[in-house]
Amino acid sequence: MVMKTKKGAAISIATMVSPVTLWMAFFIAIPLLYVAVMSFCGTDENYNVVFRLTLENYRRLLDPSYLQIYMQSILIAFLTTAFCILLGYPFAFLIARTKSRKKALLYMLVIIPFWTNSLIRIYGWRTFLSASGMLNTLLMKLNLIDTQIDFLYNIGTTVFGMVYCLFPFMILPLYTAIEKLDINLLEASSDLGARGASTFFHIILPLTASGIFSGSIMVFIPALGYFFVADILGGGNSDVIGNLIERQFQSGNNWPLGAALSMILIGITLLLVKLYQKCGGDMESLGV
């Protein structure tokens, strides 16, 4: 009897776990392994992947022109994260402290754009910002400017696009952290003689730091890879690591090199997540 129950339990666990395990194996583990193996392969004269163990791809990653793009990519990701925090914090605070119906409305303002493909929205921005686009036309009509301004194709526009795309990833963890903040603590701080600014730096900021932290991870990592934003709004003047990878798989047709670049990106990601975990970050708020 006991045996039967045990067997039953084992079977039910297996049936529950196996589809997920299979899914993970087929769509995540195996492709990752494939990329990892490929990063050690070479190519023949027609750029076909040839299996021979080599570190050639990794050596090429240290090329000065690549190093410059890594730095640029990190700078763009850093700026994107910084702007997301500066804009997102007050907004998340507003949502968390707003009552009932208005709260849902504010929340939807963040979520609704999310329902449209970000590629389409970024194309929308390019049309809006382009030399003969709506913004320039409007400014000319209002006689605010005489000549068209080139908004597109610089690092600033790329950062703008990244902030626009990744903003919800910052808002959600921030909102969760601020929501948890006990209002009594703010009253206690005020009661003990702290003005608004002191309460913010001594109580609010430390207690919501986890939200800033996980939001930053969720913004910084994708910002290294969002090649289409850098492509469409930056026009090749503000490439990120994602652009390098995309180019090797597309026009460059050097899959092993692309795979090695991907491994670097995965490496950076793991490093940041590990750092986050080391600093006491909550893995669950990253969706892990």
């Binding site: 006990d182 009594n184 701080s189 005020s190 003990l192 003689g193 207690l207």
Partner: protein, 369 residues
Amino acid sequence: MEKTKIVEIRNVNKLYDENHVVKDLSLDVYAGEFLTLLGSSGCGKTTTLRMIAGFEQPTDGLILVEGENVADKEPYERNVNTVFQSYALFPHMTVFDNIAYGLKMKRVKKKEIHDRVMEMLELVQLGGFEKRYPSQLSGGQKQRVAIARALINNPKVLLLDEPLGALDLKLRKQMQLELKRLQKKLNITFIYVTHDQEEALSMSDRIAVMHGGVLEQVAVPLEIYESPASKFVATFIGETNLFEGRVVKIEGNSVSVMVESGMVTALGEGFSEGELVSISVRPERMNYSVTPVEGFTIEAKVREQVYVGSVIKAIVELGNGNEVKLERLAGQALPMDGTVYLYWGENDAKLLRTPDNEFFQAVENIQMC
């Protein structure tokens, strides 16, 4: 000892939208006293406390601390400190940093902060706990930290919002004594909010009983118990037997009242014939006789007697089925069969006016006889 007013509340009203939470409250608190705001939940006692702290603004009326209007003062500008019901300790700070917070905000020198925090820790018997975090403390220890954190600022008034509500009974009793000891030792004015009448009676110098946003009575505990000013106070504080009736005869200050079950007598001044009144008699003051007593015609049958250690608690039933509670010392049991006649000494009953808003209810009760 001359009494200095430290907090004066003058005709304060507080409305949340349509909700009238505090109604025309006037109350003086004297320096060095332990004043308790007592009432059931929603009676406006916590709102009153929060208005003194500065977390809420009165809709109208004045609050003065040390003779100074505090209407325009933010909580951080007021010389009062609060102990919150939920403790509200800063979870990311050690016990030391929690207690030091107020002094740090005042930019007191590090050395002095250290000495004063250590002194405070000794005072609340938490020596050696300075490096712990709030999550590593028990409820009672958190409570002590919250008290120390407030007291270190040498407030003129310490406001305590049901500070012992979350503790178990034994710890609560212990903390009651300790709080009282602290208050006497430091000679700081305490304004203490609670719904626990026993706690209020045992700790307070004076009790302010609130009901439905109205201050019903402010007096020393004994007076609150012995001469409640209203029906609510009589029933809320301790156990009592309440009789409702109509004044039928007045001779000097002896008032005869017809209640549902018969005629009774009590002392009272300023009543008029025909007036509707309530009479409150505490169980330990209720008396009985096996023969009729002059001035009283209430007959009853003993239904139940329970020994509770040193006293007997008895319940007798009146002709109309109402119950009356009696308390006797052990060994003075009531006769279980036959009729007993209830009566009380002139000073043992408290005659209370029926408030206007309960007039019709009272008439209905009496007409039923």
